[in-house]
């Protein structure tokens, strides 16, 4: 056998070997992908530790939201434990509580600390006038690392659609969140708000919120600490929509459901009473209309 033929045969042997190995490894590689819930290499490499990194990326988004003013692990006060302050309205109770929580800098204990304050960020501010975009890379990274972290999608969507005018991007990101978390009522609620407030597509918003309510009813009542505030938010939005559409009876039903579990039911009961009066008035008016006969 000539030398060239031997070389070609060795090459063919190697090729068949690699082909055989590929057929053997391909199904395993697919199994790795399924185990990681997504096909990304990060999931295969990091495993469950990616959730820790995702939390860190989300915290980094919060640090950016506060323009670098953030408690360290050594500070007495703990860092914010949830993301509600990131989407809270100015002047709301949540915002006030957050202001108190972020007042973590105590009086300097010595001259080193006092002088060092000149080189630290010591003012509590939040991003504004379009700079909110700066938190987005961290939120995207957080979603990439942990696609099951719901907050990431809802917070990113809030800023994208409310402050940055990127409604299409917000919708796409929420839909990505839906693909990764098909049972999440929070993402559906946010998607409904997007349709209602940004696209003015009230009919679609209603369907999405109804689905959100069903998802809540499927998962939360069995939970140890059901998210009653989440349910109330969905019900109130649905009630507003029904009221706007003239379906006062349905609006009352939703508000009554909300009042049953609400931490402050008095306001809701008053709204129910007002709607009932309105409904009674419209029925009386209808009965006063002379018949065509």
């Amino acid at each position: 056998m000539s030398r060239t033929t031997t070389q070609v045969l060795v090459l063919v042997l190697l090729l068949s070997g690699t082909f055989g190995l590929a057929t053997l490894l391909q199904p395993r590689a697919e199994a790795w992908n399924r185990r990681g819930d997504s096909g990304s290499v990060i999931n295969v490499l990091l495993g469950d530790s990616r959730r820790l990194f995702a939390n860190q990326a989300f915290t980094e988004a919060d640090v950016y939201f506060h323009s670098g003013y953030y408690p360290s692990i050594f500070d007495q006060t703990e860092a914010p434990t949830n993301s509600h302050h990131m989407t809270a309205q100015e002047g709301s109770a949540e915002e006030e509580a957050h202001e108190k929580q972020m007042n973590f800098l105590s009086k300097p204990r010595d001259w080193v600390e006092r002088f060092g304050r000149h080189f630290e960020i010591t003012q509590h501010t939040h991003l504004e006038s379009g700079n909110e975009r700066e938190i987005l890379p961290w939120l995207e990274l957080s979603a990439e690392l942990d696609p099951q972290r719901i907050d990431t999608y809802t917070v990113a969507s809030f800023w994208l659609r409310n402050r940055l005018g990127k409604v299409a991007e917000a919708e796409a990101f929420l839909r990505e969140g839906m693909r990764n978390n098909p049972k999440s009522y929070e993402i559906l609620f946010e998607l409904g708000r997007l349709y209602n407030e940004n696209y003015q597509d009230h009919n679609r918003a209603r369907h999405v919120w109804e689905l959100a309510l069903r998802r809540w009813q499927e998962s939360e009542p069995q939970a140890k600490n059901p998210d009653l505030i989440g349910q109330e938010a969905i019900l109130i939005q649905l009630a507003r929509l029904e009221e706007k559409g003239g379906n006062l009876g349905q609006a009352i039903t939703y508000l009554e459901m909300a009042a049953r579990t609400s931490p402050s039911p008095a306001v809701l009961r008053q709204q129910i009473a007002e709607l009932k009066l309105k409904l009674a008035g419209s029925v009386t008016n209808l009965s006063k209309v002379p018949s065509a006969d």
Partner: protein, 259 residues
């Protein structure tokens, strides 16, 4: 003084003959440009994450250059036996220490200038504004801090046996101060005696290098730090630099030069 500058010039020339700076600069530029090419939600104006990554790389590179360059100065002179003709010039040992320090510090300054020009171009091209006074302030504080680091490493190089061990120890100490220095008093207060007093003593003894890390002011577009505070911080760093150089000279003047 001419002798000191002559020695310093040799050190600066050594820096641009070696490949350390070029490798670190290219790596920094490559990583920054790669990160800058990533698009988030089709928004081209997002810049702060890029500024943070670039400045982090600048800080790491500057520390590597400062510690790496300073750690080998005196040991290599002894190893190559060039210290003997140098001291026979006549050059005093104090001039050797001061010349090596000046050279390393100037070399770090040149490297920093290149890094910050690159950072300024990247940041300005993204955000469209050029806060030159702030860049100057950050660069100055960074350079002043590197002066303390260079003096610390030079002092280490006459104490520790090998440049590698000196560089490793100094790198750990500097990183430790940068990460924990600010919080050491809080940690001390939570510990029982006598550990609390020991920690508090360390807190007052260490040079507070973390003051000079004002990257957040640039990343988050905060206002300038008061120039008075900068001047006081410079005096503080100068005091520590002088102290460490004096300590280096005290050890070096009685040290046998034969290996």
């Amino acid at each position: 003084m001419n002798t000191v500058f002559a020695l310093a010039t040799v050190v600066v020339k050594e820096l641009y003959r070696r490949k350390d700076f070029y490798v670190l600069f290219i790596l920094t530029a490559l990583v920054t440009v790669l990160m800058g090419s990533v698009s988030f939600f089709h928004d081209a104006k997002i810049a702060r994450y890029l500024k943070e990554i670039c400045l982090l790389l600048v800080w790491v590179s500057a520390l590597v250059i400062a510690i790496g360059a300073s750690a080998r100065q005196i040991p290599s002179e002894r190893e190559n036996r060039t210290i003997f003709p140098l001291l026979a010039k006549p050059v005093t040992r104090w001039q050797v220490v001061l010349g090596k320090f000046t050279g390393c510090w100037l070399a770090c300054g040149l490297a920093l200038l290149m890094f910050y020009v690159f950072f300024g171009v990247i940041s300005g091209s993204r955000t469209g504004h050029w806060p030159l006074a702030q860049y100057l302030q950050v660069l100055w504080l960074h350079w002043v801090m590197l002066g303390v680091v260079v003096a610390m490493v030079l002092c280490g190089s006459v104490i520790f046996a090998a440049p590698s061990s000196n560089a490793t120890i100094c790198f750990i100490v500097v990183t430790g101060i940068l990460l924990l220095g600010r919080h050491l008093n809080q940690v001390a207060l939570r510990e029982p005696e006598p550990l609390s007093s020991v920690l508090y003593a360390i807190y007052f003894l260490i040079p507070h290098l973390e003051w000079y890390d004002v990257r957040d002011f640039v990343i988050f577009d905060h206002a300038l730090i008061g120039w008075g505070s900068c001047a006081l911080a410079t005096l503080y760093a100068a005091a520590y630099t002088g102290l460490l150089l004096f300590a280096a000279w005290l050890v070096f003047r009685r040290k046998p030069l034969n290996l």
